[in-house]
């Protein structure tokens, strides 16, 4: 019973193998995706935890914890924002792209600074190439970024954005 809520690493599962340029901290070190929610198991322990109003929110990082990793004092370093966003929203991005609209897609487009006049084309090109951007069901953030970069650079009017992935 059972509502055994196992650790779900799902959409935010950050591939621990993900590594980018040597010597740089990778997205994985942001840490917030690896363990979103470790649920309590069994009905009755939950009952008791329930009345206590607790959240099982696992801490991510302290606000002033320094500048290690891809974060600086609790915010994501500018150079990592797009990577971190893709990492945290893989499934939803794929879903939005398959339909051609959605909040995650809008956010990505904004984060990458895609100009208003290029947005429709950006969505159309990315959508047409969904299978390339998400080459497998377990595509890593790196693979997705590489796929998106490739698709964008192949398009004349969007090539400028490939460096922002």
């Amino acid at each position: 019973m059972i509502m055994r809520k196992t650790l779900i690493a799902v959409s935010l599962s950050i591939a621990s193998t993900l590594s980018i340029a040597a010597g740089e901290n990778n997205v994985g070190s942001c840490g917030w995706g690896t363990k979103i929610f470790t649920g309590q198991s069994g009905v009755f322990p939950q009952a008791l935890a329930g009345i206590t109003n607790g959240t099982f929110g696992n801490q991510t990082f302290a606000i002033s914890s320094g500048t290690s990793g891809c974060t600086q004092d609790g915010t994501v370093a500018s150079s990592w924002q797009t990577a971190a966003f893709i990492d945290g929203n893989k499934e939803k991005l794929a879903r939005d792209l398959s339909r051609g609209s959605g909040e995650s897609l809008d956010s990505l487009v904004a984060l990458m600074g895609v100009e208003q006049q290029d947005r429709a084309r950006f969505v159309q090109v990315a959508r047409d190439n969904l299978a390339r951007i998400f080459p497998s069901s377990s595509a890593s953030t790196d693979e997705i970024r590489a796929g998106l970069r490739e698709v964008l650079s192949a398009d004349q009017s969007l090539a400028v954005y490939s460096a922002r992935v």
Binding site: M1, I2, M3, K5, T6, I8, S11, L12, W32, I36, F37, G39, Q40, G42, V43, F44, P45, A47, L48, G50, I51, T52, N53, G54, T55, F56, G57, N58, Q59, T60, I63, S64, S65, Q72, D73, G74, T75, V76, A84, G88, N89, E91, K92, A94, R95, L97, S98, R99, G100, S101, E103, D106, A110, L111, R127, D128, L130, F134, S136, S137
Partner: protein, 640 residues
Amino acid sequence: MFFCPHAVIIRCLLTIAVLAGASLPAAGANYGDALVVRARALALHERREWQLLLHYRPRAFGRTRSAADDPAFFNSPRGATDPAAELEATLRAFFSTIEQTDTRQNPQCRFIARYRWLRSMLDFDPARLPERPCARYERWRARLAPSRVTLVFPTAYLNSPASMYGHTLLRIDGSDQNDRTRLLAYAINFAAQTDEGNGLVFAWRGLLGGYAGRFSMMPYYVKVAEYSDLESRDIWEYELDLAPARIDRMLEHVWELGPIRFDYYFLDENCSYQLLSLLDVARPDLNLTERFPLWAIPADTVRAVTDVPGLVRRVVYRPARSTELTYRAAFAPPSEARLARTLAAGEVALDAPVLGALPASERARVLELAYDELDYRRLAGKAHGEDVPGRLRDLLVARSRLPATTPVPTPPEPTTRPDQGHRSARLSVGAGTTAGDGFQELQYRGAYHDLLDPEPGYRRGSQIEFGNIAVRHENDNGLRLERVGIIDVNSIAPRDALLKPVSWQADFGFERTRAADESRPLLFQASGGVGLAQSLGDTGFAWAMVNVGIVVSGRFDPGVGLGAGLSAGLMLNVTPRWRLLASARSLHYAVEGPGERSSVALGQSVTLAPDLALRIEADVRREFGVRWSTIGAYLQWYFQ
């Protein structure tokens, strides 16, 4: 700004001091002394701003103590209990010449809210107290680009007691975002730090403040994924009307709180309480924390915020992913919903003629629904097959080959927001007859909602009551404590084609039974149960459970009995204002003599006004061989 009668004298003293000490290297110390003298004269340590910035709370015997449990939060060793000493030590710390590094800050930056407030109060002379650049703070603030603050309230988690009260966090909305890109904002969260997997240990230590609570930040999309996607919780976003200077004061203070430990108490010093303390810092006139001296239920704290005229600019509803899915599944024609389900289950291939025969727009809708269903089941841990990820990807690729023009229906916003529901404390007065004897009764319930209470704003089928005390005067037995219910939780979660939750209940407390000689012995009882529930459309729901329990009373030998049995219930919303609850329950305990404890009850409640209801309850009980019936009517007032 403020008139200071001592200013002239102090300026003279300062002038003398500066003239006298001009050649000395310790000129800063003299100016520090002067600032301390001035702060004392102004009694700045008694100002509300200072009290809020240091999280001082009044304690017994006129003492004061900070809620922060971390020496790093104070400049004085006595700072936790002595506001004046802390203020003096803080002023002196501002003269520090420490240079900023990645792990260390100058006190002016480390305590930037204190610094800026004291600077505005004491008008620091930059020649004698040089202002330090706070590059790290400025970079952090620039990245937040704050334009608004939003109070975010993820509601109760379907059938999960771990969050039946909900949770609150703050979101800093950036000037570079809009409603479509709000995922990119940052959230400020306060939570207990623990990896405890045992709910009982977690609950116990949490009640006693055994965990460190800390503020943390993360992109809002992380929180949306956690609450909306994984936990199926609808989210309400209350955008606040705070002037830019107020927001800055708050952020300066958040900066100070980053690494600070607060003991986490589930009931009072919890997430919601701590967020209110941030809003109090932004607007010291709000006095929000003072409204919650004993416990802070997240929904109540949201209500406290919406109670302040003009503080909430607007409210945005963000339905959980499962809410959207359920709505879309119900919206789709039955044949499409069925096809989507077989596609999701992998029983029909993507190139099946039955799918190909549909017009493109309908095919698109079916593929979307199939994906959403399968992905929901995967997130819920109910789709384990190795082929699931591949099937999900195939569904998306197939969908991407169809035109992008499916109108996506979104669930309507509920007519009653959580903050518009009834208030959570309840006082009831009533009268009736029991076993042929008249009685009058007064009840107080600390919190929060039972099944018969007005439903709007609360999650259907979720009951949590704690601190339910009844005092009864019976014409034959006199005035007595009738009941002390400590906890009574019901989580009735109807099952449908998509979601198959388990329903459960748990309760414990003291109550009076009835002996053959008409006396009313007190017993302690605890019980728990699990079962299944069925929805009856919009009208209500029905459930059945298997229960186990324990009774403890001096009238048994031995004084403890274990029991087991069954229970069932039917809840009907006859009209929006009239609710009806029929229930039956029978447990048999292993005690000497007849061990049956059974009841059949019919309760109804009529909403008279937003915070007023009339309840009529009738029941027949058989307990340990004695049978009696009770009927009572109660006027119930919701408050707090």
